[in-house]
Each structure stands twice: as structure tokens, then as C-alpha cells.
Amino acid sequence: MFSQASLTRLRYKYLPDHLIGEVLSKRWVDNAIPFLVLLIVIAVLGPLLPNFFTLSSLSDLGRQMAEFGLIVLALAIVLLSGGIDLSVGSMFAMAVLGSLLGMNVWELPVLIVLAGVLAMGALYGLLNGVLIGYLRLRAFLTTLVTLIILRSVYVIVFLHYSTALVTGFADSALWDFIGFGTVYGFPLSLLVSGLIAIVWHIVLSRMRPGWRLTAVGGARRSAYNAGINVRRTVCLAYVWSGILCSVAGFLYAARLGSAGADTGIGMEVSALTAVVLGGNSLGGGRGSVAKAILGALLVLIITNSLISFGVPGSITSTVLGIFLIAAVFLDMRWVRNKEQLLSKSYVSPTYLNLPPPPKTTDPASPYRLNDKLRTVEVIGLGEIEGPEDVILDRHDNLYCGTRHGDIVKFFAPDYQTNEVLAHIGGHPLGMAFDKNDNLLVCIGGMGLYQVTPDGISTKVTDETNRRWTSVVDDSRLRLADDLDIAPDGRIFFSEATVRYEQEEWATDALESRGNGRIICYDPRDGSTRTVLPNLVFANGITTMRDGCSILYAESWTCSISRYYFAGPKKGRTEPVLTNLPGYPDNINRASDGNYWAALLGMRTPALDLAMTMPDFRRRMAKRVAPDFWLYPNINTGCVIKFDENGNILESLWDLGGQNHPMITSMREHKGWLYLGGVSNNRIGRYRIEGADPNWTGPASYWGDAK
């Protein structure tokens, strides 16, 4: 029923495979694998264990999770800073003992006990922190020693008070509430831990102390060079570890009301397993609260299930050890291959079927080949690089952008001298004059800028509304390309693609997906809104003479369309030119009421065929080096003139591209046509036969000078 081609078309229309690369480029993708494992573990173990999904079981799991989660979080913070803390189990045990002593033996108020326990934990942490952070001892050995010392202290104190601990009884409603209370059905301890986790998530992902911690863990020397107090940051990580372990111990004591000689033994191994299983890097610098929680849940569910199955404790430890090894291995492979996977899967071509292009060899064709541009006069040869667009002001001065981030002004009448009007920093692309003779410029990678006649540049906008379906943040302007101004002052500008940077613009041709858009900046309220999304490399824009519509080019579909932003047809889009023989770039007004368009490159049959085979292009992007990829032929370009009904009137060529291998823009001014090219080192000037010698762009838009 369906042909192969229509199946391919439908498959690429509805299966968004470009999202794979975008998802891979997000930071949270590291959590995907642990999350998947967690789902699998729950799906497998849930039905096997009879009571897994019952309320009491879940509530008990929640309380355990609260305590264990805090310890995992503590360890994750230390790992993130590039260290390791083996003493978490001992600190936890000491906190349990301290809480019980305070409550059962000395019968102190709950809050005093809490404060004391936290202070004790902070002190242990400080001990670790000073030794490791300031005295530069090895984290592994130092915390191993702390582990042993604290454990010994625990055993001594525990034996001394063991009878008192058992016989004593805490008579405190608050203590019981902390241990057994629920709020809206949730165990209180879980809520407390959850709150702590959220705070830590914000600190680590959104605040300076967290970023410093990550920076120190990721590259200690770079962090030091960046001015971060590395020693203090490391020390504080251990202090926080001690405090969090103490909170966990306090909650544990409140829940169980007793301690044993083995409390906290082996906890560092399960916590370490959890941290690594969640995807936190052992080497530091990569980790998050979410990862810690995922890991903690995984380990807890696995241990609890093994206990329910009646598996002996020693075997449980073995299983955890195997998990730890597997997680470390996977983590290493993932880190090593993630970038490669991303770079190989980012380019995601889609289906595009263009009809056969018009023949340029046919003598009756308006595209018939000629060498009219071979003899153009050349301006600024070797002085400028990358004049994507050119424009002339009321006084005949010529402006262009360069890839060095300058706006260069050539002085009338002979354009032999020039000056840098403004340095903006990004590569200026499309340009337009507003009615006050300010130059508005689209800057690749930066956005829309304004340059006054005396060279002062200001940002107009660099942000639009984000689409709620976008995976990568598409609110920033990545490749603002061309613009024009409506009579009411609104600025319509195109963004060619949201998936590639300025230098990789041609790679977007391999995708030929609707990655571009037209955006409107309204100076009356300062708002920026996307008006036409999903355009295929939205490129040149020009306001039509009716004052209520624009012409815009979509390069890779080889078409030019008309969009009505006002008037009776407001909001409608009509095709004007389709199936051009090349890829249209900038569009500008001609003096005779028609329009000029530049073709930045020509279509080739081999590429047109590849456009109908997206899987071929995807494999090419994966397997062949970028310098050998098939590209649009941008070594030859031409200029066409067309009327608003879509009739081609004329074409100007430079075969072999000796003067202008690529033409991205042309601007008519007083009987001359000025040519720009994004990878050229010159501007061309072509005498138009029979053109109005007085016509200028600014006068056509804004009337004669005031």
C-alpha cells in the first residue's frame, strides 16, 4: 500500500531521532542507566517478594532509605570533591550511640541531644577535613584510620554503657514522633532527609559552594588557578559528611531505640556501592544528589530483598561487591565513550525529496549559464574576511561584517579606504538600516545587535521564548542569520538552525530538518517571540513592498515563501519559489520592483539523491570523517532576480567561481549590485544594465532623507 519512499518519509517525519543526540548532550543523561537498572530491579523483585508493594513494607523502606540515603549523600559529597570517606559507618555508629546515651541514659532534651550529636559529627568531619584538606594526607588512609579509631571508641563506650542503654527509657513524645511519626502518610524521617536532599541538590547544581566543590573534584589544579580555596573546600566536604552521618545516626536511634555491637559495620562498603551504582564518579567532579538517591534505593532494595529471600549476610556482601565492580566498570566505559557516542549520534538527517532541479543548460531557461559576474569589480580584496552581507547607507558608504567580529565601513565614492565601525565579537551576518539610520545586525552565536552611525553597538535581543517540547535549550539564539524591518518598526529575523553553531552551519544541510525559525522582535514592548518555527535553514528575509508581508528563504528545501504578518491574510504563509537549482540565501529589493536572491551553492544530483536516503547520510556522518562528507556545492553560486509571483527574470553567474565562489548576499544601490560571500575575502560590484541610477535601499524603505 505504501511505497518505500513514503514509508521512509513517514518514519522520519514522526520518529524524532534527532532527540537521541540532544538527550545525550544533557547532563542528566548520566542518571538514565542507574534509573533504568532501578526500574528493572523493581520490576523483577516486586512480583517475587510477596510484601514488596504493601504500605508497611514501603514505609519501612522509606525510613531505612532516610538514614541510608543521608549516608550515601555524605559519601557522594566527599567523592564529588575528589576524596573518599571510609569513616561514614563509624561516624554513624557514634551518632547512634551518642543519641541513645543522651536520651536513654542522661535523659537530655531531644533538641540538645540533636545539637550535641551534630556537633560531634562536625568535629569528626573536621578532624578528617583538617588532616586531608590542610595537611594533605591521603584521604583513603586517613579515613581508614578514623574508621578504626571511632569504631574502637564506639566499642569501648558501648560496652561500658550497654546495660544502661537497655534499661534506660526515653520519655519524649518528640523522640517517638521522630522515630515513628508520619506526616500525610510519609515517615517524618524520610521527609527530613528529602528536605536535606533538595537543599543539597540546589547547593550542588545551582549555587557557588556546590560548583566550587565540583570544580575542586574535577580538576584540583584548575580550581586552584581559578582562585578557589581548594583546602577549605575539601575540608568542608568532610565536615558536611560528618554532619550528615550524624543526622542519619540520630534518625536511626530514634527509630530503633537501641544499638548493637555491629551497628554501622560494613556500612561504608554499601554506601560506596550505592554512590558508584548511582553514577557518581570515583575520580571526583561528577555526581549529583539524584545519582546518590538512585544508588541508595538500588542498594537498599537489593539488600532487603536478599534478606527476605533468606540469603546469608556474607553472600549479600558478595552480591554488593559484584555490583560495585560492575558499576565501576560501566562508569569507566561510559565516561570514556559518552563524548564519542554523542559526536557520532548528534547529526540526525531526515527525509527530503526535491523534484529534479531546473536545467541550467537549456538556452530558454532563465537560469541559463553566463559569466556576467566574472568581471565584477572587487572591493577590499584581502582586507576583509567573510562579508556575509553588505549594505549601503544614504551617503553611499558600504558596510560589511567580517569573521573577526567587526563591522567594516568602506567610504564612498571609490571604496578604497575603510575603517572598523564597530567591533562586536561575533561574525556579523544579515544587516538592515532602520529609519533612524541605525544599523541592525544579526550576529552568529550572539543575537540581534544595533550599531549607531557613530559606531556604538548595543544588544537588541539574544533570547526568545523556549518551546516546551525542546530538549536542548532553544531560547538562546545560536545562529541569527538575516533580518529586515517592517514599516511599524518590528524586526523579523531568521535563525538558521538551533542545533549547530556558526562554523558548522553547512552540517545542518546534512540534516535538512526544520531546525530554523523566524523570530520577531517588537521594539514597542521589547518582546521577542518565535513566529514561524520548524523552518529548514531559515535564511534571507526581506520586507515586501505591501508593508504587511515578508519573503523568507529556506535554504535546504530550495524554496522562498511569503509570510503575512499583518493585513487581511495575517498569519498565512504562501510559497513563492520552489525547486530552485541552488540553495537560496539573502533576499533583497531590486530597483525595478522585483527582488534579488543569492544562491549560496548549487544542488548536485548525488546530494539530492542522498537527501531521500536519511539512513545513508546518518551512517556517513558516523563512519566518514567530516572533511569527506558530502556537502552542498557551495563553491559555485549565482544571483537571481524574481518577481513577487515567483517568476525568475534573470540570473547572474560566475562559473568556476573565480571572483565569487560563493555568494550569500547582494544589495542594489544606485545602479550597482554589491555582492558578499560568507567565506570570501572580497566584496564584488556589478553594474546592472538599465537599472535606476538613483534608487537606494534606505530610500525605498524609509523615504528620502529628512
Binding site: 557520532k344 574576511e385 553547512a506 548549487m602 544542488r603 548536485t604 544530483p605 548525488a606 546530494l607 539523491l609 542522498a610 536516503m613 545513508f616 551512517r619 556517513m620 558516523k622 563512519r623 566518514v624 570523517a625 567530516p626 572533511d627 569527506f628 562528507w629 558530502l630 556537502y631 552542498p632 556545492n633 557551495i634 563553491n635 559555485t636 562559473l655 567561481g657 565562489p661 560563493m662 567565506s679 570570501n680 575575502n681 572580497r682
Partner: protein
């Protein structure tokens, strides 16, 4: 089954099979611009099949047999005869006879004892794609048939379809073509023949990117002599001191190798696109904007970089008597001596016929060419 699984895995991971990996031009193949700098002896569109005979220097352009007359430093092309078919190869027996390959037809003998003889095939094999021939003695001719499926002009199709139907034959001219002895079959476009000092036969096998050795008298298994070439080898010219020059008529390109693996795209390209606009090697390129271009070949600031990937290239490789590469002369992407299809030694100079660019240039035949050494 195991091979299938391995292929599937390699395809999934994107691992190229070894024969599809294009080696770097390095060592004796280190690029230079010597072909572009060399003196031009003749400009003639489609110049091909340079052949030095006692009667003078012969060459061809399409179906025209040319005699190259010395004129000043270079040559003047004098048309001798127009044949019915394009000329694909010329060989001299060192006396008065010439063997002339006719595309789609076979081999004609002109002059000598077997004047007027036409070798059109033997048994089921038609000599429709004669790509090279060499006289062992005035009565024995060895011919290379590039392909059973395509004529020589369709070599791109033969490459993109990865045909392995070439063969090499020994023909006793006294008995005629019907009694021809196959020296090797199933070759991937044998496109150049040369005899060694010990009577062994050297054959360049274009689509396998190698030069193999065969027995010149009886069927034998090919022995690999020169492998993993970065371009397609063609014409082989022995020099007077027993060494060899090898013409490599077009460069290999990773995209072409990829397209050869992509059978579906490749078939559709063969069926629907004009061969000169294929993703395929060519004798000359950059003549039409309908030719595909690659990322590295985009002009920047009006300059086409010499190291750009291109569909055509100029390359001749100097080898010693054991067929070890010694040195090479190049014309890179921005050069204009592309598509070298024939070589001939005369008066201590090696004449290099660039069919793609339509010119003959000369380099000293024993030049000690090294990296950075001027001619």
C-alpha cells in the same frame, strides 16, 4: 554464519573492512606538486596511451591514433588514423608492429608479420574491454581484459559495482585469439601490464589497489607485490634500467569506499545519476557545479586547499625492479595534471600523459625524488 555475524557487528559499530580503508599518502607517496611544476610537452584533450616505438612516439585521443612529432622542447600531435572505436591501449613489439585496443571490439594488429589481425575473443570471453597489452615477442601478445561486464569507458560502473571479471590472456598470434591461454581470471579490473627482466608479468589490479605478479607463460595464482595503494593503479611502464613507473589514474576517497559499501545508495546512484556526477573517482573534476563536493573541498577565502579531498588527482609512482615504491610525483586537488593514464620513457625523460587534464609533462626518469627535493 560467523562471518555474517562479524559483518553485522562491524556494520553496527561502523568498523570499516580492511580493504575499504584508504591509506595515507606517506613515505614514498608523500605529496608534492612536481607534476604541476614539470615542463608541459603537449596539450591535447584526452591524450592517452603514450607508446615509444622505433617509428616514433605514438599516442591516442579518443578514437584517433596520433604520432607525436618533436617540436621545440615538446611535441606536436599529428593525427594518423581514426579508428571505429576509442583506443584503449597501444603496445609496440619493438619492431614494426603495433597492437591497438579497441573499446568494445578487441585488439587490432597494425604492421609486422600479423598486420590486420583482429583479436576479438576466445570461447565465451569477448575482448570487449582491452585495457592493456604487451608483446612478449613479435608473435606473442599478452592482453589484459578489464572486465567481462563493461567496456573500458564504463570503468566507473565497473568500480562502483565492484566487478571482479577481469582476465589476462596470452595469445600466440600465429594461432589466433581462439587459442589464447588464460593466465589469470577473476581479477578486479587489470589495467596495466609489464614484463620483468626474468620474463615475469606484472599486472596492476585497479579495484584491488595492488600490483600482482603472474607467470607470463602459464596460468598461475597472483602474487601480491605492491598492496594498499591510496589510488587506483593503471599503466605500468618499465624503464631502460629494469625498474618501473606506475601510473595511478584516480585517487581513492573514504566517501567512495563508503558508497561502495552502501549498496542501496550506490545502485540508485548508478541507475539515476549521470556518471560524471557520481560520488566516484574521475580522471578530471571541478568542471561542473553538478559534481558532488566534500566538506574539505569547500573554498575558504577563494582558495581551494591542495590537500582537499578530490575526485581526481595526478600521481605516478617510481618503483624499483622488485616493485618496491621509491618516490612519486603528484598533482594535488588544486593542480592541473590530473588523471595520469600512460607513461613512456624517452631520452632519459619520463613522459607522463595526464588524460584527465589533457597534457603531457616530463620528469627525469631516474630522478632521486625525495621529500623536499626539487627536480
Amino acid at each position: 554464519m560467523r562471518a555474517f555475524l562479524q559483518r553485522s557487528y562491524e556494520r553496527f559499530r561502523g568498523i570499516d573492512p580492511p580493504e575499504r580503508i584508504v591509506p595515507a599518502m606517506d613515505g614514498p607517496l608523500h605529496p608534492n606538486a612536481m607534476l604541476d611544476e614539470a615542463p608541459v610537452l603537449l596539450e591535447q584533450e584526452g591524450i592517452d596511451n603514450l607508446c615509444v616505438a622505433p617509428a616514433g612516439v605514438f599516442a591516442s585521443a579518443a578514437s584517433e591514433l596520433l604520432s607525436l612529432m618533436p617540436e621545440g622542447e615538446g611535441f606536436r600531435a599529428q593525427p594518423l588514423e581514426t579508428f571505429a572505436r576509442p583506443i584503449t591501449c597501444i603496445a609496440s613489439d619493438g619492431a614494426g608492429a603495433l597492437a591497438i585496443g579497441q573499446d568494445g571490439e578487441g585488439i587490432l594488429i597494425r604492421g609486422g608479420a600479423h598486420d590486420g589481425m583482429a583479436l576479438t575473443g576466445t570461447g565465451a570471453t569477448r575482448f570487449a574491454c582491452p585495457t592493456g597489452c604487451v608483446f612478449v615477442d613479435p608473435h606473442t601478445l599478452i592482453v589484459a581484459i578489464g572486465s567481462d561486464e563493461h567496456v573500458a569507458a564504463e570503468w566507473k560502473r565497473d568500480l562502483m559495482k565492484q566487478c571482479h571479471s577481469g582476465s589476462v590472456w596470452r595469445i600466440d598470434l600465429g594461432k589466433g585469439a581462439e587459442a589464447a591461454v588464460p593466465l589469470a581470471k577473476g581479477l578486479a579490473f587489470p589495467s596495466g601490464l609489464a614484463l620483468g627482466r626474468q620474463g615475469e608479468l606484472f599486472v596492476s589490479e585497479a579495484w584491488e589497489h595492488r600490483v600482482v605478479g603472474l607467470s607470463a607463460s602459464e596460468p598461475s595464482a597472483p602474487v601480491e607485490l605492491l598492496i594498499e595503494l591510496p589510488a587506483y593503479p593503471g599503466f605500468v611502464a618499465p624503464t631502460s634500467d629494469g625498474a618501473f613507473w606506475l601510473a595511478l589514474f584516480a585517487p581513492r576517497n573514504p566517501l567512495v569506499e563508503f558508497v561502495i559499501l552502501e549498496r542501496r545508495y550506490c545502485e540508485r546512484m548508478i541507475d539515476t545519476v549521470d556518471p560524471q556526477f557520481w560520488i566516484a573517482p574521475a580522471l578530471s573534476s571541478g568542471k561542473s557545479f553538478l559534481e558532488p563536493i566534500q566538506g574539505g573541498a569547500r573554498k575558504k577565502l577563494n582558495v581551494l586547499k591542495p590537500w582537499s579531498p578530490s575526485w581526481s588527482y595526478g600521481l605516478a609512482l617510481q618503483c624499483n625492479a622488485q616493485f618496491r615504491p621509491v618516490a612519486s610525483v603528484h598533482s594535488r586537488a588544486d593542480g592541473n595534471v590530473h588523471g595520469v593514464t600512460s607513461l613512456a620513457e624517452k631520452d632519459g625523460r619520463l613522459m607522463i600523459g595526464a588524460c584527465g587534464s589533457g597534457r603531457v609533462v616530463a620528469v627525469p626518469v631516474n630522478a632521486q625524488i625525495g621529500i623536499g627535493v626539487e627536480l
